[in-house]
Amino acid sequence: VTTETTGEAEAPTGRLAELYVRHAPAAKSLAYLLTGDRDRAEDLVQEAFVRLTGRFRHLHNSYAFASYLRRTVVNLHVSALRRRRVERAWLEREGRAAGEPGGMPDVAGREDLWRALQVLPPRQRAAVVLRYYEDLSERETADVLRCSVAAVKSLVSRAMETLRERIRSEER
């Protein structure tokens, strides 16, 4: 069921709206780092919020909404790209996009790193963002990604190797 309200609608109020205002900004930042695209990040967070609030009464620790929202954002992002064919198409598209002039301002010479980050496979990228932006431990990252600690180590290691290689090649 989709009901779209467009135009200058008055901002909604109430418990759900408060929940959204409180938790959406951090989730959007995370989603943006995962997707590299503002619109997709916005969509991802909205979808995660709707899905999560639908089950909110069943959450064992309802006060930990932020943690559940983070997990749902990551899972939605990774699962949407899970299948190899989709992932391949995504990589090709992102690869092209990465080569185009970006809409973001140059960040102290780090755009090369940002571009390299964008072409990482989704799970590698998620692992890097969770480790180096969310500051999660390897154990916590493994919990979010539903994998072993060893798998997280492998994901991060491969990601860092790829990033180093890409930066080196851009410098050449």
Binding site: T5, L30, F56, H58, S67, N75, R110, L113, L117, V144
Partner: protein, 515 residues
């Protein structure tokens, strides 16, 4: 920390700190969230009761002595990666497959196992055993929910094996459903997964059954998440409403086939531990302009051809049966096609002699009128009643989806759909708010045949009576009726009351509205 790691941290923080232009909550997101909250609260009685059983009233570790009952014999099953041994005249299963719990979304807690002494299909057994139609004496129940552990909260989960602890005795809120029951809980982790088990013991349960349940709990063994996914194959690809899709078949760790219809933005998955009959039909919407819907599903190996007959169409659409590789599932094949959104019809499975061996009713959600100019509102089922609210015309219709009654409130903004088997114990409902804050709400639902009247009782004691609507025999669902009423706002604090012919209150449900 090396230079690259440091640089990465700074870059990520810088990118994340860039301001987002719209801090307020989008109206359409909040409305979707509200509707989803209401819908899921209706369909998940067991979780709501067992997970929300209140605070600890006393902690008593149970003895870990395991006695081996002389009778009956034990059987061992694996459900969702949990292997459990239990008396062979008990029932174990997947709550989602049994229709007791709706399929949750990725990343959300999920009931993965239930175990009961009596058949879980007994109406009310898991939602409210105290009012179950065929009251089951001496019941013992267990549910296991796979949790999403809170980061930093893992200490709440002890390594398996764990002990059950008593947590609940006679909460007055649920006393009508669980009067005199004793509840036990354990939160534990195994193989990288996190679980919460709840055990309920009826006051008249025998000590042998209680012990058998504890033994079953203690017998559980778990499979790691990393083993969940097996081999997969892309069965078909295509385009609907301008968006590419692919149908993927993969094998679950427990051997059953999972079919997934995927696009870049959405995914619909169906799993087939066992096929009921010879065909299962699913639909996937969510495509760009929503003018088309992908219809897909599985058929048994005796099906040679699938036909889709849309009402009003001149000819049947004859579909090829798509083979699924044997290593994924040797029993089943698949089919897929694209139909116009709003279409209603039938999907038929035929054997190699041309005989129809099974058939399923096909409905599709109508497209949203705002996105498809000139759309004609076509109800998915048999019209029960119609009306106007907030200047919007609406139609309430009923149809059968597999063995579930589906009520559809169709209006210019799209359909609002309520699916229900038999209400537990008496009533389920949902409502459509139509956006405006100062107009009435259309509230509708399903009631059991025992219900003679439905009232909406406001916090001030005012009452609005619903119109009871008989479900026509053509729909093919028996034992239930529908109802509809126009509810005044605000709904907060209101309750929906189901009464029998003698005026006895069979069930009272609060209306979860955030208005």
């Amino acid at each position: 920390m090396n230079d690259l790691e440091q640089e990465l941290r700074e870059l990520l923080r810088h990118k994340a700190d860039e301001a987002w232009p719209r801090p307020e909550a989008p109206v359409h997101v909040i409305r979707r969230a509200r509707r989803r909250q209401v819908a899921t609260s209706l369909l998940a009685g067991l979780t709501a009761v067992l997970v929300g059983v209140g605070s600890f009233v006393g902690v008593r570790a149970l003895g870990s002595n395991r006695s081996v009952p002389a009778e009956p014999q034990l059987v061992t099953d694996t459900v969702n990666g949990i292997t459990i041994s239990y008396p062979d005249d008990w029932f174990a299963g997947d709550p989602v497959a049994l229709g007791i719990e709706p399929e949750p979304d990725p990343g959300e807690p999920r009931l993965v196992l239930l175990l009961s002494k009596h058949d879980p299909s007994i109406p009310g057994l898991f939602g409210c055993p105290g009012q179950a139609k065929d009251r089951a004496p001496g019941e013992v129940l267990m549910t296991v929910q796979e949790q999403v552990p809170i980061v930093g909260g893992e200490h709440n989960f002890v390594p398996w094996p764990a002990a059950l602890e008593e947590v609940f005795e006679g909460d007055p809120i649920t006393a009508g459903c669980y009067g005199g029951w004793t509840f036990y809980r354990a939160m534990f982790t195994s193989e990288g997964r996190f679980f919460q088990a709840n055990v309920g013991v009826a006051p008249d349960a025998t000590s042998a059954d209680r012990q058998a349940m504890f033994d079953a709990f203690a017998s559980m063994r778990f499979t790691s998440v990393s083993a969940v996914e097996g081999s997969s194959a892309v069965i078909a690809t295509g385009t609907a409403a301008g968006e590419d899709w692919q149908l993927v078949a993969w094998r679950h760790e427990e051997g059953q086939l999972v079919l997934q219809l995927e696009t870049e933005q959405a995914l619909t998955g169906v799993d087939f531990p066992e096929l009921e009959g010879d065909i299962h039909v699913a639909t996937h919407t969510g495509f760009g302009d929503r003018t088309e819907v992908v219809v897909f599903g599985a058929v048994s190996d005796r099906v040679a051809e699938v036909r889709v007959i849309l009402f009003g169409a001149a000819d049947a659409d004859i579909l090829e049966v798509l083979p699924i590789p044997d290593e994924i599932d040797p029993r089943l094949d698949a089919f897929v096609t694209v139909v116009p959104n709003g279409a209603v019809g039938e999907v038929q499975a035929l054997d190699d002699g041309g005989a129809i061996v099974d058939r399923r009713f096909l409905t599709t959600p109508a497209p949203v009128s705002g996105e498809v100019p000139g759309r004609i509102l076509i109800p998915s089922g048999i019209v029960l009643t119609s009306g106007t609210s907030a200047g919007r015309e609406w139609t309430l219709s009923a149809s059968r989806r597999t063995d579930i009654l589906a009520l559809e409130l169709l209006h210019v903004d799209g359909p609002t759909i309520l699916e229900s088997r038999s209400p537990q114990p008496a009533i389920v409902f949902t409502f459509e708010e139509f956006g405006e804050e100062d107009v009435e709400v259309v509230l509708f639902g399903v009631v059991s045949e025992r219900v003679a009247r439905v009232l909406l009782r406001g916090p001030d004691g005012s009452e609005v009576e619903a119109e009871i609507l008989a479900i026509p025999g053509d729909v093919g669902v028996e034992g239930v009726d529908a109802f509809v009423l126009l509810a005044p706002r605000p709904l907060t604090g209101s309750r929906v009351v189901a009464l029998d012919a003698s005026g006895n209150e069979l069930e009272v449900l609060p209306v979860y509205s955030t208005d």
